[in-house]
Symmetry: C2
Subunit: 309 residues, 2 copies
Amino acid sequence: MDRFENMQAFVRVVEAGSISGAADRMGVAKSVVSRRLRELEAHLGAELFHRTTRQMNLTDTGRAFYQQSVRILADVLEAEHATSQSHGALKGSLKVALPLSFGLMHLGPAINEFLQAHPDIEFDLDFNDRQVDLLAEGFDLAIRIASLADSSLIARRLAPIQAVMCASPAYLERMGTPQSPAELINHRCLVYNLISNYEHWNLRDAEGQWIKTKITPYLKASNGEFLRNAALAGLGIVLMPTFIVYQEIASGRLIPLLPGYQYAQLAAYAIYPQTRHLSQRVRAFVDFLVKRFDGLPYWDVCLQDKTQE
Amino acid sequence: MDRFENMQAFVRVVEAGSISGAADRMGVAKSVVSRRLRELEAHLGAELFHRTTRQMNLTDTGRAFYQQSVRILADVLEAEHATSQSHGALKGSLKVALPLSFGLMHLGPAINEFLQAHPDIEFDLDFNDRQVDLLAEGFDLAIRIASLADSSLIARRLAPIQAVMCASPAYLERMGTPQSPAELINHRCLVYNLISNYEHWNLRDAEGQWIKTKITPYLKASNGEFLRNAALAGLGIVLMPTFIVYQEIASGRLIPLLPGYQYAQLAAYAIYPQTRHLSQRVRAFVDFLVKRFDGLPYWDVCLQDKTQE
DNA sequence: AATAACTGTTCCGATATCAGCAACAATAAG
DNA sequence: CTTATTGTTGCTGATATCGGAACAGTTATT
């Protein structure tokens, strides 16, 4: 017994004024409508119509139920329509704030892929690592790498961001390979702002103990790719997100260090305002990103063994 | 495809956090819930859950649909609950204003009958022919005989009220039987306020023409039964609602006059305020009255032939 | 580290349900 | 008074739905 179907039949009968008329408009036999009505009345335990064998008059009970039914059915339709994205019928623009490195390297391909499924969406992308005020600047969505939790915004976790310490083989040959965090003070460190402060790196040993390690900043920069290139050139040791250096590690041009230690777990988030009626574009795009970055990120898959050693 | 059941299954899964849990609480096999979910997603053309084979995470699309679904299901339950009167579980009081004669003669038995079905309803009856202000005096309902249409009130037609002109055989023998409206001026008329003014009676002939007939008021009273008794005593001709005199006409103690003519069509109405949430008591009682007085009123059934002649 | 417990999905056979048709009773219309 | 229409009901075949079991993948526990 489909309660929506019964309800709808009831509403159609009220609007058509007769069972036959309603059945015609619905394209079913009138016996079906009749039975649905009776089923509904039995379910409610109340008479909706005052039947005169030929005439159908709403009872007051029925009139009250009709008004509520109409609203409910409209709500159902609205909910279904708002949810069903009609597969590719998404249109409009999407203004997104992206972090520089992660955005260029990993979100770019994702956006291209999304655009192929929804060609009528226009992206307005702002690659920038500064904090932006979503509402003030009219962003639909921001992608951030952090561990923040803002109450007025919804944050959807997209992917874990792992950090890895590494250096080029040439550097290690020249300066030696550190075997413990304490040795780091004798090395040249290339410092990336996003996941570390300037003076210390926070490591976690195998027992889960946090170790605040003093380092020697040799070069500071806010751009991950610049630091990666510096490390490749043998300038020092970097602590960076794996998504930037995974290819270099995989190919052996950078060597992971201190494999027994872990770093602060960050994550990439999609962040957007809490509006009552979130646009289908934003919902669809975030759903797409969550699905695409689900599980262990592809940039970490090939490192799983190397960083463990 | 039962949309209601699918929606409910979806909500239960969200609330239980898993398909198995939802299936347990719903008392069905988990395969059923799984299939319902897939069906719903297919119907919407959108992914509601982000599945990880073991974990079920709501997509943003799903979260939005969930919020709407919860509200819809609550609305359905509320509508059904408000409509279903739980068969006799009606309680509370019902303050009703009734017309004197009609109330005593015909509504009284109806109310008794209603009370047998709903013993927990307490009636507060005010038999009075004066106009009462429903809202000011706290009436739930008023029964009126009129043809009014007040915008702020809902009026439900209960029964047609026919009028009939009649006199006792003794009177007619003494004064003669009028054959046309014009002769009425030579007769003694007993005037009832409710359906006539003091100086004229409006009749309609067989062609539908309205005839304003001057009469001679011999006795004026606002109480129908008093006038009926006066007519029975042979004091004159009355024009009254059939519901007062139908037994006397049926038994021959009063003779219908001018059978070819009709009178203003009045009706008995149930009148009540237009409140958003009409109490179930009022709805149930009005529904009951409408049904009870449906069709040709029983007091007119036996007169149908007599008044036609 | 390896088993155990649990999750969601899929397939399959028995069962129940539902749509449509046709006949019927009752009423309004011409 | 006949005709057409309305709502209801019984019946039959097609359809869908249910529950159970097997399966694949994941977490928890030992």
